[in-house]
């Protein structure tokens, strides 16, 4: 019974991942993006859980709980908390939503082409879905390049990280528990540092538009 449902579940989870990523490009509001990021965290946790059940590995199930806690709840909560407390302005991206979605489509096609070339010998269901992970990496990068506010940049960075995690889980059944723990903590640390940094920027310049950071000072 599970064998027939498994590919569909994988498709559902990865579809949710891609959809949330694409929506993040579309939406301007920072809070909406954070909610989407939370949803993406849940989808990633579900994906990991599905893989864990399929492989019957308890360790992977534990990882999925960890992913749920860190990426689905922890990080979005921290971000939302800070954003509500400080940000009043919405994002004015350098790319309009239509062009953004078009670019997302092109990037997704490119990812599928690349993934199918790279994983030519792997015919498993999860390997077929690996293109989604690559597309998330590229979409995360796109967010980094096109967003002005430091907070949105952070979201782009987290999408990129989610994309890497997705590729890792889909192609090799996930990384070992301790490694995943380490990576999650690293990401958490980066988020905290970037938030402190953004806070200082806001105190100093009144906003967090990184376009204004152009000169080096001693």
């Amino acid at each position: 019974m599970f064998d027939t449902v498994y590919p569909q579940l994988i498709g559902l989870c990865t579809g949710a991942l891609l959809l949330t990523s694409a929506l993040m490009v579309w939406r301007h509001s920072l809070l909406a993006s954070i909610r989407l990021l939370s949803a993406q965290g849940f989808a990633l946790a579900a994906l990991v859980a599905v893989i864990g059940v399929e492989e019957g590995a308890a360790e992977v199930i534990i990882v999925s709980v960890l992913v749920l806690l860190v990426k689905g709840m922890g990080l979005p909560w921290v971000l939302a908390h800070e954003t509500r407390a400080t940000t009043r302005t919405d994002e004015a991206p350098r790319l309009n939503p239509t062009a953004g979605l078009l670019t997302v489509a092109l990037l997704t096609i490119l990812s599928y082409v690349v993934a199918s070339r790279l994983l030519r010998d792997d015919s498993s269901v999860s390997a077929h879905a690996a293109g989604i992970g690559l597309a998330m990496v590229l979409i995360g990068f796109l967010l980094l390049v096109t967003r002005r506010q430091a907070g949105s940049q952070l979201i782009g960075f987290l999408v990129l990280d989610n994309g890497i995690a997705t590729v890792a889980f889909l192609t090799s059944g996930g990384v070992p528990l301790f490694l995943e723990l380490g990576i999650s903590l690293d990401v958490l640390l980066v988020v905290v540092i970037l938030y402190v940094f953004a806070g200082r920027m806001r105190n100093k310049f009144g906003n967090t538009d990184i376009d204004q950071l152009r000169k080096l000072h001693d």
Binding site: S111, F141, R214
Partner: protein
């Protein structure tokens, strides 16, 4: 362990000791301790080089972590000769430095880099593979750069001179690496023995030859890679300039010899023509610039370009003639190149040390402000004079023997047994003779000016008037240098035999000692015995001289007042020739090549157009090659730099976009 290996190991240990001593001793003792240790380091090089030159063998292996063969240092006879020559110059420079080094040149940096510089220079000729050659080559270059950098704090012009030096050093290093890379790529080895297996007729060999020639020519200060020389050497103190211009250029010559004699012997004729052309242009351009220079060190620096040009002319002639099977003349030309290299090292080191002594006593390098030093600094004047004779290629010096040999080889080169060897040779040889004749004439003029204006007549400035002779420790190397210059000229036979043995076994000029240490070049059937000629001249001249003296005693000299002195009865220093006025006719003749800039400023008395109060004349000769060849390149590079700055505007988004695009391109390339 053989004595050669022990000598090289001794050089390593002495270098480390000298570095440690320079770092640890206080400023009061530093020059003495470091100078003596540098002299010992050079002394170890002298012994090792002499042992290797006379057939000693020994090797030092340095294992590396690189995926290459271990580095092996094992000088052959030719390497031993070059090591000997550079070490002798290094020894003189170190001894001179003990006395002359002050303030910046006595700093820790200066003495540490002096030891490193000497060490690198002495071990380049010991290398038997590309990697160790390049390693020591770079040690030498970096050492000399740091040595010059030590004077950065005291003089503002050092920085720009050093930028030129570093850029040109790296350019020639690039050529050398590229040349060796071609050889190594084709033959598949990095040892010199493996590289020598390449067929000289192949196009890869020609490519490597041209690259290596440019690289080594740059180190030997040849046109057009010489532009650093007139900037750097005037900034360097005398002993550093002596080590660079007297010794380091020989490493460039050694590189060229390595290519022409060891790695790619018997190359096609056009290689020889190329080397000859490079040498001829350098010789003419160098001596022309030297003859109009009024700064003593600039004059000596350009004269190095001239001498190295002649060395390469000889080298090129030997390649060309060997290709035409005129072996005797070819070997004689090669021998002449070596003779010139050795005697140039002796006289140029002495000249630069003399210039250093003058700089120390007067603080002045502008010839127009010197004069009258002969009576105030007799030792320096005598040594400088002897070396100037050598540089002007006049008899009883090594320079004369070398240029005589070169001329003989070229004259005998176009015909062998009455048959014309080739059309190329019969055109190139007379042209080369003409170049040497013009060069020799201009060199004579140049050194008459250098010696006459600086040491004779009356002092042209207060500083020159107050000059004192330098201390004994500086006079000793000057005297040794002068003795070497004359000694090499009086004993050409044994010298030529030693040099000929260094070239073997494939190249072995047939020379013997004849008469009183004279030279008998059998390959081209010429003989020169300076000592015998000198003895004969003495026998003839002594009675004449005695007769003249006797008659002078009988007729007491009459002192008569000046009948007419142009309105003024007292001669003043300003009435004398200056270096600029002496060279004026030459500047006019070669106006098109030199393109001097003149600035004449006339101050009139009041409103009058006819009464002149003061005339100020200023003339400067710039380096045409620098302004015509390098300036446009530099301007182009600067424009590119300004454009490139637009790509680097500091925006984080832009840098992120670059990374994103790079990632996309990689992905697209992967999926293709």
């Amino acid at each position: 362990m053989t004595s050669v290996a022990a000598g090289m190991l001794g050089q390593v240990l002495l270098m480390l000791t000298a570095v440690a001593a320079a770092l640890l001793t206080s400023s009061r003792w530093r020059s003495r301790v470091s100078g003596i240790l540098c002299a010992l380091l050079a002394g170890a090089g002298v012994v090792t080089g002499a042992l290797a030159l006379f057939g000693g063998r020994g090797s030092l292996t340095i294992p590396t972590a690189l995926p290459l063969d271990p580095l092996v240092l094992s000088p052959d006879r030719l390497g031993g000769l070059v090591m000997l020559v550079v070490s002798v110059v290094g020894l003189l420079a170190s001894l001179f430095g003990i006395g002359s080094a002050r303030v910046a040149s006595a700093s820790r940096t200066a003495w540490v880099s002096m030891a490193v510089f000497l060490f690198g220079m002495q071990l380049v000729p010991a290398a038997t593979d590309v990697v160790s050659f390049l390693l020591f080559w770079e040690i030498m270059t970096l050492g000399s750069t740091a040595l010059l950098l030590a004077h950065h704090a005291t003089r503002g012009t050092v920085a720009s001179a050093l930028v030129w030096y570093s850029a040109m050093s790296q350019l020639s290093f690039f050529f050398v690496v590229a040349g060796f890379a071609v050889l190594a790529g084709v033959t598949g080895g990095t040892g010199f023995a493996a590289l020598a297996t390449l067929d000289p007729a192949s196009w890869q060999a020609s490519l490597a030859f041209v690259l290596l020639l440019l690289g080594f020519g740059g180190k030997a200060e040849l046109v057009p890679l010489h532009v650093w020389v007139p900037r750097v050497l005037p900034e360097a103190p005398g002993h550093v300039a002596a080590a660079m211009s007297g010794a380091m250029v020989n490493i460039g010559v050694y590189g060229a010899l390595l290519v022409c004699v060891r790695l790619l012997p018997n190359g096609p004729a056009w290689w020889g023509v190329l080397v000859m052309a490079l040498g001829a242009v350098s010789a003419l351009y160098g001596i022309l610039q030297a003859s109009v220079a009024s700064n003593l060190k600039v004059l000596l620096a350009y004269s190095t370009t001239e001498n190295m040009g002649l060395v390469f002319l000889g080298l090129g002639a030997s390649v060309l003639l060997r290709g035409d099977h005129a072996t005797g003349a070819a070997d004689a030309a090669l021998l002449a190149a070596l003779l010139l290299m050795v005697s140039h090292a002796a006289f140029k080191a002495t000249l630069f040390l003399g210039a250093g002594a003058v700089a120390r006593s007067t603080g002045e390098m502008n010839l127009d402000r010197l004069g009258g030093l002969g009576s105030r600094m007799p030792w320096t004047a005598a040594a400088f004079g002897a070396a100037a004779l050598g540089a002007a290629a006049l008899p009883v010096t090594g320079g004369f023997v070398a240029e005589w040999m070169l001329l003989q080889a070229l004259v005998h080169g176009s015909r062998v047994g009455g048959e014309v060897v080739s059309v190329t040779a019969s055109v190139a040889m007379p042209l080369a003779v003409a170049v040497i004749a013009l060069t020799a004439g201009l060199a004579l003029l140049t050194f008459v000016k250098a010696y006459g204006i600086a040491f004779l007549a009356r002092p042209r400035s207060v500083k020159a008037k107050q000059a004192r002779e330098v201390p004994v420790i500086m006079r000793v190397p000057l005297a040794i240098g002068a003795i070497l210059v004359v000694g090499l000229g009086l004993l050409p036979g044994p010298l030529a035999e030693a040099l000929a043995s260094a070239l073997g076994p494939a190249f072995r000029p047939d020379v013997r000692t004849i008469g009183l240490a004279g030279i008998d070049a059998r390959g081209i059937d010429v003989v020169l015995d300076p000592t015998t000629l000198l003895a004969l001249a003495a026998v003839l001249l002594v009675p004449v001289l005695m007769a003249v003296l006797a008659s002078a005693r009988r007729h007491p000299t009459r002192v008569s007042p000046l009948p007419w002195a142009g309105g003024g009865s007292r001669l003043r220093p300003r009435m004398q020739y200056t270096a600029t006025s002496y060279a004026e006719p030459l500047v006019r003749v070669f106006d098109d090549v030199l393109r001097p800039t003149r600035d004449v400023e006339v101050t009139h008395v009041g409103e009058s157009r006819y009464l002149v109060e003061r005339v100020h004349v200023e003339q400067s000769v710039s380096d045409v090659i620098e302004t015509r060849l390098y300036r446009p390149v530099l301007i182009l590079a600067q424009r590119f730099g300004v454009r490139a700055r637009r790509a680097q505007n500091g925006s984080i988004h832009r840098y992120l976009s670059y990374s994103f695009l790079a990632l996309l391109v990689v992905l697209i390339v992967v999926s293709l």
